[in-house]
Symmetry: C2
Subunit: 356 residues, 2 copies
Amino acid sequence: MSALPPGSTIGILGGGQLGRMLSQAAAQLGFDVCIFTDEPDSPASRVSAKTFVGNYLDRAALTDFARRVQVVTTEFENVPAETAEALIEAGARVAPTPAALAIAQDRFDEKSYFQSAGIVTPAFKAISSQVDLDAAIAEIGAPAILKTRRLGYDGRGQIRIKTTADAKGACEKLGAPGILEGFCAFEREVSIIAARGSDGAVAFYDINENEHTGGVLSRTTLPANVSDQTIIEAQTAAQRVLEAFDYVGVLTIEFFVMPDGSLVANEMAPRVHNSGHWTIEGALTSQFEQHIRAVAGWPLGPTTRIAAIEMLNLIGGDANDWPQLAADPTARLHLYGKRDARAGRKMGHVTKLKSS
Amino acid sequence: MSALPPGSTIGILGGGQLGRMLSQAAAQLGFDVCIFTDEPDSPASRVSAKTFVGNYLDRAALTDFARRVQVVTTEFENVPAETAEALIEAGARVAPTPAALAIAQDRFDEKSYFQSAGIVTPAFKAISSQVDLDAAIAEIGAPAILKTRRLGYDGRGQIRIKTTADAKGACEKLGAPGILEGFCAFEREVSIIAARGSDGAVAFYDINENEHTGGVLSRTTLPANVSDQTIIEAQTAAQRVLEAFDYVGVLTIEFFVMPDGSLVANEMAPRVHNSGHWTIEGALTSQFEQHIRAVAGWPLGPTTRIAAIEMLNLIGGDANDWPQLAADPTARLHLYGKRDARAGRKMGHVTKLKSS
């Protein structure tokens, strides 16, 4: 594809904080942004030139949106297949490819794909009945974790099976097609943020070391405490996925690091990722600008990290500490403009740059 | 004043690139932004939650605007006195103070104020007739420069008087009340960007060394090639102005550096400034965030510079080089979303971070 000139309009599906930061990066490069969201008064719409508020299955609205933008991208992977289809039928260029979105929407498909690509995953089995679950536990063992195949995020839709006794009734409680995943006795969690341009060029950011609290990312630090061999393994996996899907944009893969330094893939996100928020201040090109560059057909920018990093998420009531955070000279504060500090909700983040 | 909580709305007068970058900084801190501009489809409005398009003298529109925002600030100094008055009558808090805006609108008042504050300026005389001009040239000598007292910027409204012969008819050609300024045989041009919080705290950015082409800033570099004594002199002048006006926000003063290192004040801008655009990538707190922090009653952020800097303005057709600039790994590209690359128009800028 030829590069979109400044002044073109980039369409973003989704109005949350990722769309907000993508929109700001697009504006910096001289693009207009049009948001499509089902949420009135969304964080992203408040920093964007135009917003369509509509249902993701409303073909007429999607067609109208598609005709006003030069490319469509997304801040979330759970874009219904019908949405992507309607956009493409209306003539929109969609990046990354809907095939990558579809794989990432289903934990079973995703892990099956990883295995086919030679990327190690935890043991897993598809679960559609209690009989399946009992058989899977017999095979994989406990502890294990039962997750919905679709629409789970930030620890939602998950049931921990510590002993085989926990399996009783778990399938009914889950209430949706599931996947049982074997427990991984990992040493730490990391993620890699990679990007592929429309010219096929691939770039990697430094590996993120991640800590979760209640299933939600709470802290990311760099440099990660991993070996060069582990870094190469993560890059190899990311490159394989990027090329298999002829992917254009930013892609994230989360891994468990085992005691021997080997990696076990947990999940992928076909988008910018919370563990990459530090790149706004900490890298020469932010993950948001990188994604916009890729989907606009521009060359990728340099991913060089300029300092050691600590990124802290502000979850729910954490954001009430804004007076202290605003007064902390080491904290670069980002607030997403969400009206309601509900428990577990990502309200903002803080990035701290440290001398390496 | 107490600090405005995130979710408050900040009003900005003006829809240009300074308003655009202020708006993006405000959004990052969780504020909504409402732009008031007389320009439909302005660069700032395309990244802001709401825009009022109206005349700056339309009291009804200004009253409506004032009631929807918690503080009003500005991206330009030529805000009509009637505008500030209408906003204050409608109950708006306006920062910085209209008195500082008023002084900066008139080159004669500004230089008179500088002198009263012990800040050295070029020789100057108010000019309202050819008789005035001839007398002023007899006193100040040539070369000199005749400028309109009001509404000049980027070299507009200026007539160079190289020899006394150039004075003939110059007053009529200027067509407005003027000021004759003596020529300064300066060695270089610098500017200081300073900020004062509502708590009275003052912060300075490192001094900018500036090059102009055709009266328009073309290049800013840091560190500036000046002595510590010169830096202290600039900081002292800025602090004096900030305190005299009980100023809240970012203030810029441009100086000539004389061969002996002493400073001669050229002009002040009661706002963020083109020579400070490098602070987006090059300082821990950008000038835009700093200004928003100040007018919102937040503590100032740290101004530490993290690298040596070269900032290049993209004027008029320069922005057509975007494909080359996008591919340059040393260039952080900013485009302002202006539709029309007219000659002399500021279309964007590029910041290069270099190892110090």
